[in-house]
Symmetry: C2
Subunit: 434 residues, 2 copies
Amino acid sequence: MPIFLNSSDPDFESRFAAFLTTKREDSPEVDDVVRDIIANVRTRGDAAVLELTSKFDRMELTADQILFSETEIKAECAKVNETDRTALELAAERIRAYHARQLPQDESWTDETGATLGWRWGAVDSAGLYVPGGLASYPSSVLMNAIPAKVAGVKNLTITVPTPNGIVNPLVILAAQLSGVDNIARIGGAQAIAALAYGTDTITPVDKITGPGNAFVAAAKRRVFGKVGIDMIAGPSEILVIADKDNDPDWIAVDLLSQAEHDESAQSILITDDAAFGQAVSEAVDKRLETLERREIAAPSWHDYGAVIVVRDLDEAAALSDRVAPEHLELCVDDPDALAEKINHAGAIFLGRFTPEAIGDYIGGPNHVLPTARSARFSSGLSVLDFMKRTTLSKMSPAALKAIGPAAVTLATSESLEAHGLSVALRLKQLNSD
Amino acid sequence: MPIFLNSSDPDFESRFAAFLTTKREDSPEVDDVVRDIIANVRTRGDAAVLELTSKFDRMELTADQILFSETEIKAECAKVNETDRTALELAAERIRAYHARQLPQDESWTDETGATLGWRWGAVDSAGLYVPGGLASYPSSVLMNAIPAKVAGVKNLTITVPTPNGIVNPLVILAAQLSGVDNIARIGGAQAIAALAYGTDTITPVDKITGPGNAFVAAAKRRVFGKVGIDMIAGPSEILVIADKDNDPDWIAVDLLSQAEHDESAQSILITDDAAFGQAVSEAVDKRLETLERREIAAPSWHDYGAVIVVRDLDEAAALSDRVAPEHLELCVDDPDALAEKINHAGAIFLGRFTPEAIGDYIGGPNHVLPTARSARFSSGLSVLDFMKRTTLSKMSPAALKAIGPAAVTLATSESLEAHGLSVALRLKQLNSD
C-alpha cells in the first residue's frame, strides 16, 4: 500500500521527514567493475569495446560494424510507419522551437573607467549521447538530448545505443536522423561511456556526455567527469500531483501511474486538500493496476513508494512540494498560475487540468531530462546551455588600468603573489611615466 | 628548462600532441580516506568534525566554537588596514556589478496551438563555499565565490575555512563580510565538505558547494555530487599568452610567472610569431626567477611545464590555443579583438597589452574561478547561473491538447507506456465529447 499522510495528524512531521529520506535506489557496488572497464577501453580501444559488447550484449561485431552505416540507417528509418513518423516529426519540431529560445546572448559593455567587459557563448565541439537499449530505448529521449545539442551548434554528435542480441529500435534511429545526429554506435554500458570519453579508432572522443543509463552507465559518467563534461546522474523518475477535488480521480490516477510504470523505483505522490478525493484517486489507481500493461512495474512502485498526502490548503501543498523538489509537478487546480508562484523547487511544472505530464515527455517542447532525487533544489533540466560554454572577456584601456590597477597590486601583495602584482605594476609604471 | 617548440619543425605535431597530454597533477589515492571521513561526519556529526579538525588542523575546538561569533568576525575585520580594505571594497563592487548582468530572464509565450510555454529561474536556497587555509587562503576567492551566490539570491551562505594552528587570515573574514556571507566555519578538508553536504548540529546542510581545495577536498566534492550540486573539480592554474614582438619581454615574463607562482603544477605557455621575442621572454623569466619571492614554486612550474611555441602567424597561434583550451588567455597583439574572434575555447580572454591576467584575478569584474585542464572545451567559469536553477513551465489549453495530444498518444504507444498514453487520451476523450 502507498503511504497515507495527513498534515493535521500529530506525527505528520516525523512521518513526512522519514518519507523524504526513503532510499529508493539500490546502489550496487559497480564502481570497481566500471573502473576496470574504463581502463580496458582506454588501453585497448575498439578491441576492448568489441569484447565487452560480445559479453554484455551477446553481439559479435567487428570494428567496422560498430557504427551504423548509411545504408543501415536508411533501412531502419524505412521500417517506421507513417503515423509514428509524423508524430516524431511534430515532436522534433516543437522541441526545436522551444530550445531555440534558450540560445543565450553575448554581452559587451564599457564601464566608467574605460574597461571593456563582457562574455561570449560558444558550443562544445563534440558531444556523445547515451541511449539505453532494450526496454528503456526511447526515441523521445534521443530527441530530447540531441536537439538541444544541435541547436547549441555542436558539430559532431555521436549517440551510443546498445542493441542486445542485435535488436534495433527503428524509431530510435529515425529520431537520431530527425535530430541531425552525426554517428550512431551500437554499443552500450560503461564501455560506451569510456569510448566516448577517451575515443577509440572508431569512436571520436567527445567533450560532453549526456543521456540516461543504468547503474553502470551512471558510475562510468561519474568517473569520466572532468575529462569530459556530463549532464547529471539521473535517478528514478518522480511525479508529484497537487489536485483539488474538482478533478476526475481516474485522470489523476493515470497521471500518477505514468511515472510508476517507468521503474519499480519510480515515485508518484498526490497532495490534495480533500481527503475523500485522495481516497477516490487511490481506488482509481488500484482499478487501473488491474489491467495496466506494465502493472508488474507500476504496482510495486506505487505500493512501495507512492503517497497520498492530505493537507489543509494549497499553500501547505506548495510548501510540502518544495521539500520534495519533484522532477515533475502537476498543478491540477482552478488557478494553477497562482499556485505555481508559490513553488520554488521543481524540474518542470505542468499547469492546469489539461496538461498531463506525458505531454512534456513527448511533445510539449520543454526537455524531459529533468533533475531527480530532490536535485531540483540545485539543478535544472537539460537545455541548450548544457552544450555551450561561456568565455569571459576583459580589455583594459590605459585609463582603466590606471584607475583600478593599484587596487589589484594591493590585493596581490596582501596575498603574497608578487608576480601578480608585478604584472600590473610594470604596466602602471610605464603609463605613469608617459 | 621549459619546452621550446616551433610549428615549422617536422616533428612539431607529435611533440605538441605529447605536450597536451602531459599529466601535471598527481592523483594520490585519497578516495578511501575521503569515503571514511564522509561516513564518519554523516554518522557522528559535529563530534567527527571536531576530532578531524584536531587531527588535521591541530585545533582543539568545542562545537560552539566551530562557527565564528559576531564578536570574532568584528575583531578580525578590524585588523585589516585601510588600504587593503579599500582595495577589497572596490573589488567587491566591481565583481558585483559584472555578475549582476548575468541574472537570467524568465520567459513565457503562447504558441499557435494555444500552449503556453516557458521557464522560470530561481536561486538555490543555501550554498557552501570552501576556502582553503594556509598558503592558498585568498580573500579574492571568497569574493569570487560568494558574490555570485548572493547576486543569485542565495539566502543561506556558509563558508568553511580551516585555520591550522589557529591562524586566521583577517582579509578572508572581511571578504566574507563584504560579500554578505551568513556563516563562517573554521573547518576544512573532506570533513568540511561532508558537513556542508549532510549537515551537523552546527552546520546547516546546503544545496550547492563551490570553491577550490586540495586533493581531499576535490575527492569529497566528487563523492557528494548528486546529494548536492558542485561547481567543478579544479586543477592547477594555467595561462597561455599569445604575444607578438612588440611587447616588452619582461611584461610577458611576469604574466607567465603570475600563474607559475601559484603552484608547482601550474602551467604557463607563450605562443609567439617571433622566435627572437620568444627567446627574449624566456631570458626575462630566468632573470625574474632569480629574485621572485615564490621562486621555489614558480621555477619548477616553469621548468617542468612551461612552454615557448613559435608559430608562423597569429592564425596558427589561435588554432593551437584552442587545442590547449586554456583557463586564462592573454592576447598581447595589435588587434586583440580580431584575434579573439578566432578563439573558440578559453575560460577567460584578456585583450590587449594593458590587460594582464592578474587584473582578472582581483578587480576586473569577471570571475576568476575558471575551467582548468582543458575543460574550457565544455565548461564555463563560475557565474550567477551556478547558484540558480530553471523550472520549465507548460500549460495546455483544451485546443492545444486537441492539436498535439494525439501525437503524444502515438509516441507513448510506440514506447509501450500505456499510462502515459491514457493520461492524454482520457482528457482528449472528454474534449472530443464536449
